[in-house]
Each structure stands twice: as C-alpha cells, then as structure tokens.
C-alpha cells in the first residue's frame, strides 16, 4: 500500500530501560501497517536545522477509535534527532511518513520460527510473533543486547513464545555473550524452518550465516542510515544478489528493510563489490579501498 504523510500527535512517551516508548496517533498508518514496516519521522520541529528523517520500525499498532490508529516506536536517544524525539510530550505534533518498506514475509505453511532481536532492533518482532502464532506456527525467541538496560521486549518474548533465550554482552541478564552464541543450539533443538531477525548489521550478518548453516531460511530487517525513507535519496544502499544472480546496490528503504539473509552480501556492506551491476571498472581499486575506512556514521 502507498505510504501517507500525516501530522501525528504524541499520545504518550515513557521510558523503558535505555529506550523511550513513543506512542503516536498517526491515522492511516496503523491501520495498514504489517510487521517489518517502518515509519520516517521529521525531527526538530518547524524550524529545525535537522533535515533528514529518522526511520523507526513499528513496535505495535492499535486502532483506538476516538483518535484514529496509533503506532508505537522504540527510540534509542543517541544523537540530537533521537534526543528530540525522546523529549517529546503528550500532544506534541510529529510529522510521520509510513508505512514504509517491505514487511516480513509470512510463511504459507505452518513452520517453526525463531525470532532474533538485538537491542531495540527487536521492536518489530513481537507483532510478527503474534501473526505467526495466529497461523499456528511455533515461535521461539532470542533476545540480546549489550546490557540489561538495552534489552528490549524480553517480557513480551516470554509471553508470546515457546522458548526464550536471553543474552547480554556483560552478563547482566541471561547468558553472557551474543545472540549467535545461543542461536545454533536453539535452531538445532527446535528444527527451526525460518529465522526472522532485526538488529545491528554485524548481528544480522552472523545470524544469517548461522541460519544458513542450519538449513533455515532467514529474513533480516536491516538498519541502514537513511535520509528520506521513501526511496528518493539513494543513500541507504547495500549489495544484494537478485533473482537473476546479479548483485545490485539496492535501497534498504524501498527494496527492504527486510531481505532474504542468503542474498545480502554481508561481508561487502560498505563497499561496492567489483561484480556488482555498474561497479567501477579498471581504476575501481582506489574507490574500494577508501570504503574500508568507513564505519558507523548513521544518522541519529
């Protein structure tokens, strides 16, 4: 469905661990969004000097008759834009564009699914879990983060799923380590058919690899820096192999954010692979080596 641009309004904003749970009245978006869709918010108010939209996957939606639909987003305050959002109060206006992107693909058959969320990246997985359960699928969860405060949705996960594993890098909750430390055992034990994942790029790369090794299909929702979210700026590209076997630099906003984990060239993110369609030829070496220096830099 086509996205809409609406003047939304903050219904509530509350802290959840290291994050803010922002509930926005955004009519026309909640009603049509599906798990994996995202919204792009303008930040900084009317006279903002921050031009670029901030993209957030949708945690939950509700259709609350009087106000119109609401969308809930998980905000991690880390830069001026996300801090502005974290400081919003009830009734503040927010310009919202959505729903954007391709949502998670739901299986036609009854399958066993393992959902893997890293930090606030776990946000879109809970409505997905509900829909999978409604189709009779078994749902298991792996939730991980650097610290206990940065875990998101552990309680939701316990409520929705058959089995839950929690990891923190500092060991403050659950097992000490990364989600991929516990994922292989979970996939083996439960014979998972599908892995759905959302979180930081290195986590997704590792999850896709594990899923592949255990014969599971993987669907990964990527977090890539975007300027517009609607497909016009061409900043959020990553190398993905197409159905024809050709690698293209595709937009994570309109071609994603959910990709088949087997088709993303995880090791080549931040570069243009030499065999990508339209890659620089001959003197392309200089361009590729420069790319090696670039890490992070996402808008926040």
């Amino acid at each position: 469905m086509a996205p809409v641009q609406v003047r939304g309004e903050v219904l509530s904003n509350r802290r959840v661990g290291a994050y803010h749970l922002l509930t926005l009245v955004a009519p026309g978006i909640a009603e049509v969004s599906r798990p994996g869709h995202f919204v792009a918010l303008a930040v900084g108010g009317e006279n903002t000097s921050m031009l670029l939209r901030r993209a957030f996957s949708i945690y939950r939606v509700a259709e609350r008759g009087v106000y119109g639909g609401t969308v809930e987003l998980v905000i991690a305050p880390k830069g001026p834009g996300t801090r502005w959002l974290a400081d919003l109060r009830a009734h503040d206006p927010v310009d919202v564009v959505g729903p954007l992107g391709h949502p998670f693909a739901l299986p036609r058959e009854v399958v066993t699914a393992t959902l893997v969320g890293g930090g606030y990246g776990a946000a879109p997985l809970f409505t997905l879990a509900e829909q999978l359960r409604a189709r009779g699928c078994r749902v298991d969860f792996v939730i991980g983060a650097a610290t206990d405060a940065k875990l998101f949705g552990a309680l939701d996960a316990k409520r929705i799923s058959t089995q839950v594993a929690i990891t923190t890098e500092d060991g403050s909750t659950g097992e000490r380590g990364l989600v991929t430390d516990v994922l292989p055992a979970m996939l083996a034990r439960n014979a998972s058919d599908v892995v759905y994942a959302c979180g930081p790029m290195p986590m997704l790369a590792a999850v896709a690899r594990v899923a592949h090794a255990y014969g599971a299909h993987s669907q990964c929702a990527v977090e890539e820096a975007m300027a517009c979210g609607v497909g016009v700026c061409m900043t959020c590209v990553l190398p993905v192999i197409g159905e024809d076997g050709v690698t293209r630099m595709v937009r994570s906003c309109t071609d994603g954010p959910v990709f088949n984990g087997d088709l993303v060239r995880w090791d080549d993110i931040g570069t243009v692979p030499a065999d990508a369609l339209g890659a620089p030829v001959a003197d392309g070496g200089a361009e590729r080596s420069r790319a090696g220096a670039a890490v992070g830099g996402s808008t926040s």
């Binding site: 309004e9 900043t235 670039a294 808008t299």
Partner: protein, 343 residues
Amino acid sequence: MTRMRLTRPAESGAALPDVDMSTSLGPLLLPDPVLTASGCAAAGRELEPFVDLTAIGAVVTKSVMLKPRSGRPTPRMAETPSGMLNSIGLQGPGIEAFVDKDLAWLRQRGVRTVVSIAGSSVEEYVKLAQRLRLADGVAGVEVNISCPNVEDRGQVFACDPAAAAQVVHGVRRSTAPGVAVLAKLSPDVTDIVAVARAVVDAGADGLSMINTSLGMVIDTDTLRPALAGVTGGLSGPAIRPLAVRCVWQVHAALPDVPILGMGGIWSGLDALQFVLAGASAVSVGTVVFHDPSAVARVSAELRRALAEHGFGKLSEAIGYAHRGEGLAVGAAPDEGEGAGAEG
C-alpha cells in the same frame, strides 16, 4: 488530526489566490514554476503517494548515464546544519533501462519530464542526447556538467567554460529544437557568469543553478571522513544564500536567459527569493527528503506570497529585486488566512 496533504494544490485549490503561475524555460512551457530537483526525486514514481506529479512544474529525473552505475560505497550521506552532504556517485540504471522503465512510466502518467544526463566525455553526453531524441516524453534535457561526486574532479565540466560549452553544444545539436536544453552549473567556480555565458553561447536554452557545493565532514568517533567518498556535495537550506547570489549575478549579466533556480528551497518565500533574483522557475531538492510533499506545498506557498505582494502573474516577479524602484509594498494581505510559511 489534520493530514499534511492538505497542502496539495488538488485538495486546497479553492483556497488559493488567483495568480498566473505559468512560466517557461526556453521552449519548455510550464503551468507551474515548481519542479523537483535532479537526484532528489529519483524518477518521480516514489513521490507519487505524496504529490500529484502531473500538477507540478515537472519532474527532473536523477542524472542518467549511458551504462548502469553502482555509485559509491556507503556511508553516502552525512547530516550537516540545515543541510546534508551526499556522495551517491550517480547511481543509476543506465539510459536504456531508464528509457524503457522510468521514462515510460512518466510518459504513461502524463508527467512533464526533464531528463538529467551525465557523462564522462562530450561523446557520452551526445550519445545520451541522441538516445533521448528517439524517446517519447522528454520535455527538457538538463545537462549535469557539475556533479561533484565523480572519481575524477576533472569530470566537472562546469568548472571550465570551454569544456562546459563543448558539452552543451553537443547536446543542443543532438536534441530536437522544441526540447529545452538546460545546463546545470556548479557554484564552485570563481566566475559563474563566465560559465553561464559560455554555455548560453553554445546553445543552452536555460540554466539550472546551482548544483551542490563540494564539502566534507570528519566523523569525530572514527576520526576519519564521514563519507566513504571522502568529499560530497553540500545541499539544503545551508547553501541557499550561495544559490540566490549565483542566480542574482547571472540574471544581472544575462537578463534574457531563463534560470531554473535551486539550492535549499524549503518554503514559498524561499522560492520567491529565487524568482526575485531572476529565476523563471525553481526546483525543490533536498527538502523533499524532509517533506516528501514539499514540491506542491512550496508551489501553494509561493502563489500566496506572490498574491500578498500584489503580483497577478509569476512572470511579473521574475528578477524584480534587480529593479531600482522600491518594492511593491501595497496590496497588503487582506486576511491572516494562509499567510504562507515563515523563514
């Protein structure tokens, strides 16, 4: 809850004052003076949910090259105060796929289309123009001789009047007479009037000004350049005064040459600045990333601003700021309704 799309002309047309907004860029006749900007609207399709593409001045497509091009690695973008830096590197499908898919879609929808072309040699520009001449649905060709995101900065033809003129001459010769050829100029030159004069003498019907200005951001976490491409093009309201100055200087020197003005236009009053400086039409670029319905909103705001200043026609306002006489202070806005955006 008010929907932002209330500002779409199609939905608020009745409330808009009666101003003749039609304009022209050489042979290109436009019912509305607000266009998209190359590189900020892809090939139009993505903006269809937000803007009536047939009502706006025209879609100016992202620069297309002869062959498919992957562009540069990421990160390609960095936010800067009231602007952004980009180094996309002219990613695109190549002219054949562009004509078959993107241009066909625009033509089928009846969208006025200005195709932006980019090449690495005069010959490439000529081939692009020749290919477009065989295609339907091209109302204008914008010759991007000023993209800063290319491996070889020597490719920036717009920094050399003679090279810029060669490219424009080749494109003009290969383009049908009824199709406007616009040369897109770079602000990163010492004398923009000299470049403007050279491309006009070479046959340009009009000038698109300005392209981005070369800039750089260093990431203080990684202690390295923020962009994979190291440098990038600065755009957005941050460069607006630079753009208005360029339009002013060129219009002063070449008052009969139509100018498509652009550079950080956010509101109708921003657009009005460009018109008063000498632009016959304007493009809204980077602000579309912030507000995907901006092109229609700016047009509505510009119309109100013109009416409030007593202009019955857009054409009366073109270059108005150059006139020695005082500004039209009469014709005070009669009511508060729709006072347009504030700077």
